[in-house]
Symmetry: C2
Subunit: 405 residues, 2 copies
């Protein structure tokens, strides 16, 4: 008997009509004889409504209590879907984080799953029931309710699929798969049939918000084949899978645009050990995620350090860096929020030389100046002036994806 885990996002269960449609879809799958686990998000809008209530009471609500509050969203959709399935004669049972149970650490609001005890789930599946799991939630060692962070239901689904050794994990959402780039920017964008975990990880971290990055990490670690597809039709979607032979033949799988970037440069940093950590330390303590870090020592014995941070953290980061710059005797701080990051990702880069050269060549031809460069084994990212972002995506997609076909 095949075991399938399906995750339905907030839009897919966003109304009574949508829940009916999901129940129909699950019924059809169950009728094939498959053992079915559905993981559901909160109805779209519900999480924000609950956050709004709490914020009216306290600008910074207690994290533990926020998790108690927000977990109700998934509890409501799980029970409603179970009601809809039972009404169709498809026996179903809802499971909450503490019932499965999904053990996590105690980091409220962004907990990590440590272990899943699927004995209860398996018993339910063996009895022929559809198990409807409230996504996004777990329970810590003291029985406190925890949540896994925005998009955490993807991670719930992959983790449950791994624990059950399910045959596949389908992420049903409002997009129909993973594209070579954003179709709204580049009409030639093509839906991928398959993509490797590593490529998906790079794309997820580059602003292609199809899957929560942790869910891809979990899928890779436990070797769970994940299919991203739409819940609004029967389109096949994109499989995110282990690297297979032939995958490297495609040099570039995708081109991603990340507008959520701001650049900060500390000039004339004295070239002494420990100063980099002195610059980065305060930002780390403040929870600011620094993305790219570039350092270039000059012959004069000092160095310029450039960072990128999310737009939302830009105004908090700037005074921190200015204070540290003064303290360590650096030359000064310059900043620019008017930038974007464009990245090309592909397993083929490992074996095909010259992708970087071709990329820079294409950008130069268009007169686009590159401000920063950062590379990994399967990715090249460049920071550009914001106005060139969409143009860069289009010309890189043409040169590296379309013409390489």
């Amino acid at each position: 008997m095949k075991t399938v885990v399906q995750k339905y996002g907030g839009t897919s269960v966003g109304s009574i009509e949508r829940i009916q449609a999901v129940a129909d879809r699950v019924s059809t799958l169950r009728a094939t004889g498959a053992a079915v686990v559905t993981v559901v998000s909160a109805m779209s809008g519900e999480t924000n409504r609950l956050i709004g209530l709490a914020k009216e009471l306290a600008p910074q609500p207690t994290l533990r209590e926020m998790d108690v509050l927000l977990s109700t969203g998934e509890q409501v959709s799980a029970s409603l879907l179970a009601v809809a399935l039972n009404h169709r004669g498809v026996r179903a049972r809802s499971f909450l984080g503490h019932q499965i149970r999904i053990d996590t650490d105690s980091c409220f609001g962004r907990a990590r799953i440590r272990n899943i005890d699927v004995a209860g789930l398996r018993k339910s599946l063996d009895a022929g029931e559809v198990a409807v799991v409230a996504g996004f939630q777990g329970v810590d060692p003291e029985a406190n309710i925890t949540t896994l962070g925005r998009g955490g239901s993807d991670t719930s689904a992959v983790a449950v699929a791994a624990a059950l050794q399910a045959d596949s994990c389908e992420i049903l959402t409002d997009v129909d798969g993973v594209y070579t780039t954003d179709p709204r920017i580049c009409p030639e964008a093509r839906k991928l049939d398959r993509i490797s975990y590593d490529e998906m990880l790079e794309l997820a971290s580059l602003g292609a918000k199809v899957l929560q990055i942790r869910s891809v990490e979990a899928a890779k670690r436990f070797d769970v084949p994940v299919c991203v597809r739409t819940s609004f039709s029967d389109e096949p979607g994109t499989w995110v899978v282990r690297e297979e032979e032939g995958m490297e033949d495609v040099v570039v799988s995708g081109v991603a645009l990340d507008r959520d970037q701001a650049k900060i440069t500390v000039r004339g940093v004295p070239d002494k050990p420990g100063l980099a950590s002195k610059l980065l330390g305060p930002m780390a303590s403040a929870g600011i995620v620094v993305d790219m870090i570039i350092q270039n020592a000059s012959e004069a014995g000092d160095t310029d350090m450039t960072f990128t941070v999310p737009q939302a953290d830009y105004e908090r980061a700037l005074p921190m860096l200015e204070a540290v710059a003064q303290e360590i005797g650096a030359g000064g701080v310059t900043a620019d929020a008017n930038v974007v990051k464009v990245s090309v990702v592909g397993l083929g880069m490992r074996s095909h030389a010259g992708v970087a050269a071709r990329m820079f060549d294409v950008l130069a031809t268009e007169g686009i100046n590159i401000q920063m460069i950062s590379t990994s084994e399967i990715k090249i990212s460049v920071v550009l002036e914001a106005k060139y972002g969409e143009l860069a995506v289009r010309v890189l997609h043409r040169a590296l994806v379309e013409e390489a076909l």
Copy 2:
């Protein structure tokens, strides 16, 4: 250190503003040094909203899933109140049914509490926290979520108070206490300072919807002093307590009107053993609660049996009784939904003879015909034509409560 359990009903936590007011009130109590447990209901309207969603999916939603769904209402108000308290610098922690834990049987929708393990609650109180308990919910031996039925938060509060051996249990609601009768019917109605558990039980079962009847039973069993008071002011309210010396001096504590009655008579029932249970059996199976039962054997060897049932069950009960009547060869069935029940309740009836006589006399003086009579040790109930209900309450209140003072 005094331990106080306070229960806030749906109206008391019905909006962000009301939750703020409750948080202020709890803060003030906590500042006196008392250990405070607050039990909260769902925000008013929320339970009905959730039931509405489920009914759109299925006319008869799965009972187990309804409890998963409805328990979110109390989960939301508990976490929000904890957020509001923490924001005031009053440390608070929410507790759900499975966290406390409140063990119940598996009767979804109307579960009964079997045991409460208050170790976690006590630890929280000892640490100086306000424990905010989600009312209405528990957990069965298989870790399924259960609910205690409408008004179940009162029972949660009394049960938690009993388990903690709390000094008192305050039920904060939108009425300011227990009255000698409904002030809307009789302006001379007076708020009682104290009333015994037994009197409150009779009044609760007679339609004075101040406290859930099970909560009064629990308070009596565990000897928990309960105070009913309004959350909108500092009025002292009514204490529901163990019977004390002097309580019998007040002959009649209250006069209650129950409009939710319908009368059904089966005429000419053959006077044979077992026929009463044959008549009542089908209604019990259908979950119809029969209130008054009166049987009068005639000399002719047959008998008339008269029942009262809630108005909502009247149309279901009638065909059942007609079928049984035919089967057992009874004379026929007559029914009347146009009736009310008026009751007088008081510990003093045990020692003061003549209350019944005075009651019937007062009604006769007003030309009110009595259709049925039923008595208990501390209560006399009569069934009357509906139009006489309010008049009967007023004249009985004057004769038995006001003039007896």
